[in-house]
């Protein structure tokens, strides 16, 4: 077997760009981040500019790396759900679902139907909350201030719904292996139905205010086109890939999970693959999710929300891969258990890491302002990259 060798000094030059002004040969190296408004946190982007055109770029991540894969080896299964809440902090509930499913599948148990329905509803609610933020944020990134406020305003209804059901606005930690912590509070269904109507109205507003705005279209159409095949081989998933015309949604096409098969819904795609398509697809998916929640509220079965589980959870030996369609894309856990109270190894597959890994390819040759459009339309959460 050949001995592996690597020169650590290779390729470090670009990342070590200095901050002071120095322009050589018409090229300028600009640091975007790690403290930059366009990077949603602590992403650092080093770009080499010719005038305002990007010649090359490098993404530097890890400023917020928390080592969850290592930490999971020191935690028990119920404790881990608290950790993974913080991976994609905008849709925490959706993070819990695949992990809890992984444990349940290894143990050979299933949550009661009511729990699965509530899980589906809450997953879709967190998807709406995530996307509403995106719909407003994207406007802000291309310079329109007002949509951001509309997005925050309507996201509040959804967060209230999540909070009144789970007790937590951002980190519910509501899933238990074998079900849910609690049943829904009284009156929740009626209130959520009202909120969903507001969300649908809000989507119409975004359609009018942002999508049909000529300047917005000028800024986003044809910018940052992800070719479908290339995107898939980069591991780009979720709405980003569907915006490139790939009709692939794990809710429908993955191993069946939750109760999506019982619902009447549609997978939206767009053939363009540009920033506008990504915005448009997410807007349609927000609508679709609101419709799904409305359906779920209508057919919510009665019954317990927790199945019988031992007090101290020991997961039998085995391996399982569970991936789900999270708001940002494919999220998956490869859990290896050796029969202890905690997993032996958890490989966390986060959507944003793969989604952002295509950024250097996408950013070649675009203008400086397009970097922001492309990054915003890829829609990543730093916690989801720096897991």
């Amino acid at each position: 077997m050949p001995k592996f060798e690597v020169d650590p000094a290779v390729h470090r030059g670009l990342a070590d760009a200095r901050l002071n002004v120095e322009i050589d040969n018409g090229d300028m190296i600009l640091n975007l981040g790690p403290q930059h408004p366009a990077t949603h946190g602590t992403l650092r982007l080093v770009v080499r500019l010719d005038g305002e055109r990007v010649v090359a770029s490098d993404v530097v991540i890890g400023y917020m790396h928390r080592g969850y894969e290592k930490l999971t080896e020191y935690r028990t299964y119920p404790q881990i759900t608290t950790l993974i809440n913080r991976i994609d902090w905008l849709s925490s509930f959706a993070n819990e679902v695949p992990f809890v499913h992984a444990a349940e599948q290894l143990m050979g148990i299933e949550a009661p139907p009511r729990a699965e329905y509530i899980r589906t509803a809450l997953t879709e609610l967190s998807r709406i909350a995530t996307f509403l933020l995106f719909l407003g944020e994207m406007g802000l990134q291309v310079g329109a201030i007002t949509p951001a406020f509309y997005g925050f305003r309507d996201r509040e209804y959804v967060l209230n719904a999540i909070e009144s059901a789970t007790g937590g606005r951002f980190h519910p930690n509501f899933n238990r292996i074998g079900g849910l912590k609690d049943d829904l509070p009284w009156g929740w269904i009626a209130e959520t139905r009202e909120s969903m109507r507001k969300v649908l109205k809000s989507c119409d507003e975004f359609e009018d205010l942002v999508v049909s705005n000529p300047i917005f279209q000028k800024r986003t159409r044809g910018i940052g086109i992800i070719p479908a095949e290339l995107g898939a081989s980069y591991g780009v998933s979720g709405s980003n890939l569907r915006a490139s015309g790939v009709d692939w949604d794990l809710r429908r096409d993955g191993k069946p999970y939750l109760v999506y098969n019982d619902l009447d819904w549609k997978v939206w795609t767009h053939s363009d693959g540009d920033s506008f398509a990504r915005y448009w697809v997410r807007l349609q998916e927000t609508r679709e999710s609101a419709r799904m929640v409305l359906q779920l509220l209508d057919v919510m079965p009665s019954g317990p929300v927790m199945t019988k589980v031992p007090k101290i959870i020991k997961v039998p030996e085995g391996e399982v891969w569970v991936n789900t369609e999270n708001p940002l894309g494919e999220m998956g856990y490869y859990v290896i258990s050796k029969g202890a109270t905690g997993p032996f190894r958890v490989k966390i597959r986060t959507a944003s890491l793969s989604n952002v890994s295509i950024a250097p390819w996408l950013l070649r040759g675009v203008y400086l302002p397009d970097i922001i459009t492309v990054l915003a339309s890829l829609y990543f959460i730093l916690g989801d990259i720096d897991k």
Binding site: L19, G139, G143, A144, I145, T146, I215, K218, Y367, L368
Partner: protein
């Protein structure tokens, strides 16, 4: 014969000093009014929130003044690598440009802020271009790449939009036959629409194209959305202002909103009849009191349009902005001049 010193202190120099003080007082007040009305309150209400409510008791009227006081108290930070003299001078030059523009704005038959210039329009547009120098100085002296990029964008943008701005006004100048702002106001007040002189002739009726061009170009000159690339907060953080704090930043703020006030005033004067108001004789003494109020109302109307666009639209990209200026605005402005000139000769 009196000595030179007496002449200077007793004569025109005193008048000059008083007028300077008036203008210097007007700039922050104008900036304050626009900032409070539109930035704090109108924007908030458009975005389904209230904006400041507590400071001062009534709808947070004191908020912006308090902000100003806060800015003055702040530490004056100059980056280590900065060119200190240029860095300090830059905000002053931006405000100087605003200051000089105020000078010719007429508020009544005998009331021009400082000087009734023969070439008032031209003068105002000429001194408005001074602020570019200040912006370039700020961006370069900050020793910051974002600032440098911001000021480069600002320069490219301001040069590109200076032209449609001037060309948009030429239609008015041709029609009124003068560059004197007072005369333009009088022309509009005494004009008539197809023989009916009830309203006078606000030039927006005949120069609607020019008005549109002027508003777009003014928006670009002010670097407001959709043309705010020089300060684009999502990409360049704050552009050329990124290293400024405290009262130097306050200067830029005052410069920005003060200039918006003057541009709104120019638009009101050139296209909406300025301080004149229908049914009151232009040269009546009362106009010296009513005139400024009328002008202020018209300024607020024009500023409303400006800020409405500012809070609604996303921003263009730099190349899109340039092609808008060169491929659309300038040809349209030239055609407008041609048509206006032809009609002027014909009638």
């Amino acid at each position: 014969m009196r000595s030179l010193a007496v002449d200077i202190w007793g004569g025109w120099a005193t008048t000059l000093g008083i007028k300077t003080l008036i203008v210097m007082g007007l700039i922050p007040v104008g900036a304050l009014v626009l900032g409070y009305t539109f930035l704090l309150k109108m924007m908030s209400h458009m975005q389904s929130r209230l904006g400041p409510m507590d400071p001062g008791g009534f709808h947070g009227w004191y908020q912006l003044i308090g902000d100003g006081i806060k800015f003055i108290q702040k530490e004056d930070i100059i980056p280590e690598g900065a060119d200190k003299r240029v860095f300090k001078m830059a905000p002053a030059i931006v405000v100087l440009s605003t200051f000089l523009m105020f000078v010719v704005l007429p508020g009544g038959p005998d009331f021009v802020v400082a000087k009734d210039l023969d070439v008032g329009v031209f003068y105002a547009l000429a001194v408005s271009s001074l602020s570019v120098i200040g912006v370039l100085m700020a961006g370069w002296a900050s020793s910051n790449k974002y600032a440098l990029l911001g000021s480069l964008r600002a320069a490219a943008q301001l040069i590109a939009y200076e032209l449609p701005l001037v060309l948009a006004v030429i239609g008015v100048v041709i029609q009124a036959g003068t560059m004197n702002l007072q005369d333009i106001v009088r022309f509009q007040a005494s004009g008539e629409i197809f023989g009916w002189d009830g309203l006078g002739l606000p030039l927006i009726l005949t120069q609607i194209v020019g008005f549109g061009l002027f508003m777009i170009a003014a928006q670009a000159e002010l670097s407001q959305p959709p043309f705010d690339m020089p300060v684009a907060e999502s990409e360049l953080v704050a552009g050329y202002m990124v290293e400024y704090t405290g009262f130097r930043f306050l200067f830029f703020f005052i410069g920005e909103f003060g200039t918006a006030f003057v541009y709104a005033g120019l638009a009101a004067t050139l296209f909406l009849g300025g301080w004149s108001v229908p049914f009151i004789d232009v040269d009546a003494d009362i106009m010296n009191v009513v005139g400024p109020l009328v002008l202020f109302a018209k300024i607020m109307l024009v500023a409303f349009l400006m800020f409405w666009a500012r809070f609604t639209y996303p921003r263009f990209r730099e190349d899109q902005l340039q092609s808008l200026a060169w491929k659309w605005l300038i040809p349209i402005a030239l055609a407008n001049i041609l048509v206006t000139g032809a009609l002027k000769v014909a009638f």
